[in-house]
């Protein structure tokens, strides 16, 4: 029995050992087949996916847009009696006999200034999380390949075209690269982005309203502080906070002037850089709050302008630093009466930190002039406010009003603003503007947001001090310009009646 039992047990054991082995062997075979099939399917999927990627429509990754604008301006301004710098120097060189000649008051005007502006925008989704964007601009006067008709001797930001205004004021008709940058998104799989290149640092909020442009979004800057075509970078973060919809923050850095080879000799002009922090704690249509602080370092005296109203200009020294702080509060309220009401209030302040350097003009050292002062060196503080509203009717008619005021020592970085006389937001005085925009009520074809519109507007500048948009030298009350020599022609008030016909796609 024991023997039979032993045989049976052995047989059972062998069968038991053999059976699972067989089952496992069968499982392994199946598994191998499944794995092979899986690989085959995966390979096929990849093969199928590859041509599909290759056949991607160009519209999936490339976006092209643009704009064209015809504009007519009718300009008129009042120049008070004033003492020009050249007459003053002639009087000094002549032994200071008698009194220096005074330039009599006058009215200056340009009844019809016609301009063409063309813009081309290209955005490419280069690869996952990487985009490229460029905007090309051409802005010219009718019948000219120069800016003789729009250039004046009145304001520092309109004596000629320089890097910060290229494409934003009439120039030689050449197509300029206004923006070109690449952006990397979703860094570390977080809402963090890094962008570098020639920045979208123009047309900031809330100046987009009067231009009938889209709100700039996270690329926006405060229009009261910065409207300057700049080369630089941004590092941004847009956290998801339930109580703070749309919140984001970003650090910006840019270089406004870059010196060339140097040997460290005293008196060499240094680089001019600017950095800023933007914090937008709340960004929705009904309420948007935008805070910005800037620090501009080693401000140069003159930008490089080969062909300015004052001759060829270039930096001769660094004058010091400027700090700025600004806030913009915007609101868009729907169904206010028949339409939508857009409102904004913006405030800003600046503080200068002059060094002991003085500019040199035409080889002549201006030893009593520095950053925002004439005579004794002093740090100055200025401020500005900017208020406005636009009412959008269902008929696609938009009615707008804006007001801004800059104090005696107000200085900003806004030369690229879309104003003919001078950037209104850099004005030391008051500026009023009213406008009406009428969009054509046609179905857009080129893009969802394509539009054609006419804009009719009127600006009135009431200057209280000289030197709007100029940080070289101290401001002088307009009532005192007959006794204080003026490098630029002072202006008491100015008007611009303008009309545009624009297409954006």
């Amino acid at each position: 029995m024991n023997g039979k039992a032993a045989v049976l047990f052995t047989a059972f054991l062998m069968a038991a050992l053999a059976l699972p082995h067989g089952i496992f062997a069968a499982d392994e075979d199946i598994q191998k087949k499944v794995d092979a099939l899986s690989k085959e399917v995966q390979s096929l999927q990849q093969q199928v996916a590859q041509p599909k990627e290759g056949k991607k429509s160009i519209s999936d990754w490339l976006m092209i847009g643009g704009d064209y604008r015809f504009r007519i301006d009718s300009l008129r301004g009042e120049v008070p009696n004033y003492l020009s710098f050249s007459d003053y120097m002639a009087w000094v060189m002549g032994g200071m006999v008698g009194s220096p000649a005074i330039t009599p008051s006058s009215t200056v005007k340009n009844d019809t200034l016609y301009t063409n502006r063309f813009g081309l925008n290209i955005t490419a989704k280069v690869m996952k999380d990487v985009t490229f964007h460029t905007r090309l601009l051409m802005y010219k006067e009718f019948g000219s390949q120069a800016n003789d008709a729009s250039r004046g001797t009145y304001f520092a930001d309109r004596i000629g075209v320089f890097d910060g205004t290229l494409g934003h004021v009439p120039s030689d008709g050449g197509v300029a690269v206004d923006q070109v940058y690449m952006t990397i998104n979703n860094i570390f799989n977080q809402p963090i982005w890094f962008s570098i290149g020639r920045r979208p640092s123009t047309g900031g909020i809330p100046t987009h309203l009067r231009q009938d442009n889209e709100k700039p979004g996270v690329s926006g800057v405060s229009g009261l502080l910065v409207d300057y075509a700049y080369d630089g970078l941004t590092l941004g973060y847009a956290p998801d906070i339930d109580g703070l919809p749309g919140a984001y923050a970003k650090f910006c850095y840019g270089r406004g002037y870059q010196h060339g080879f140097h040997s460290g000799q005293p008196g060499e002009v240094k680089n001019m850089d600017m950095m800023g922090f933007v914090v937008v704690p709340y960004d929705t249509d009904p309420l948007s709050i935008h805070l910005q602080v800037n620090h501009a370092m080693d401000i140069i005296d003159f930008p490089t302008i080969k062909d300015s109203s004052l001759g060829s200009l270039g930096p001769t020294t660094n004058l010091g630093d400027i700090d700025q702080f600004g806030i913009v509060v915007m609101s868009t309220l729907k169904k206010v009466g028949p339409g939508t009401l857009n409102m904004f209030a913006s405030g800003a302040m600046d503080k200068t930190h002059p060094n002991d350097n003085h500019p040199t003009f035409n080889g002549m050292p201006l030893s009593n002039i520095g950053l925002m002062y004439t005579g004794t060196k002093e740090s100055t503080t200025g401020n500005a406010i900017y208020l406005g509203a636009r009412y959008d009717l269902p008929t696609k008619t938009m009615l707008g009003f804006e007001y801004n005021h800059g104090s005696k020592n107000w200085i900003s970085f806004v030369p690229a603003a879309d104003d003919m006389w001078t950037s209104k937001l850099g004005t030391r005085g008051d500026v009023y503007e009213v406008y009406v925009i009428q969009e054509l009520r046609k179905i857009p074809i080129a893009s969802y947001r394509a539009k054609t519109f006419v804009r009719l507007g009127y600006q009135y500048y009431d200057f209280e001090y000289t030197g709007s948009n100029n940080w070289v030298g101290g401001p002088v009350a307009i009532s005192d310009v007959a006794s204080n020599p003026q490098m630029l022609t002072p202006m008491k008030n100015a008007q611009d009646l303008y009309a545009t016909l624009e297409v954006k796609f």
Partner: protein, 109 residues
């Protein structure tokens, strides 16, 4: 410069406080994804709800969510958000439907 440094520090603290120390109240059911919009369906200018289909960047799967918040609906209506935009999305599943809780373009600049 000193004031700027102080202001910068304040901003940095504000950013840190807003972004890292008090993140949005994420519920356990919330699902996050980053994807490209492939379809938006909205009934019309007065619609109070819409559906958007996104292709998840990671998995390639299509996810359709219901959007009820006015801010995003307005962006659909006036085409500030369109097909092709990349979106950072948070949603939760309620009664078998994906309900959007956070819908924002990823694009920075």
């Amino acid at each position: 410069m000193k004031r700027f440094a102080i202001a910068s520090m304040l901003f940095a603290v504000a950013v840190a406080a807003s972004g890292f120390l008090s993140p949005g109240a994420a519920s356990a059911e919330e699902i996050k994804l980053v994807g490209v919009i492939t379809k938006i369906e909205i009934a019309g200018p007065d619609a109070t709800t819409a559906s958007a289909t996104l292709k998840d960047n990671k998995t390639g799967e299509l996810v359709t969510v219901i959007v009820n918040d006015d801010l995003t609906l307005d962006k659909f209506k006036d085409h500030r958000i369109v097909v092709g935009d990349e979106i950072r999305l948070k949603y939760e599943v309620k009664d078998g439907k994906n309900i959007s809780r956070y819908f924002r373009k990823t694009a920075g600049c």
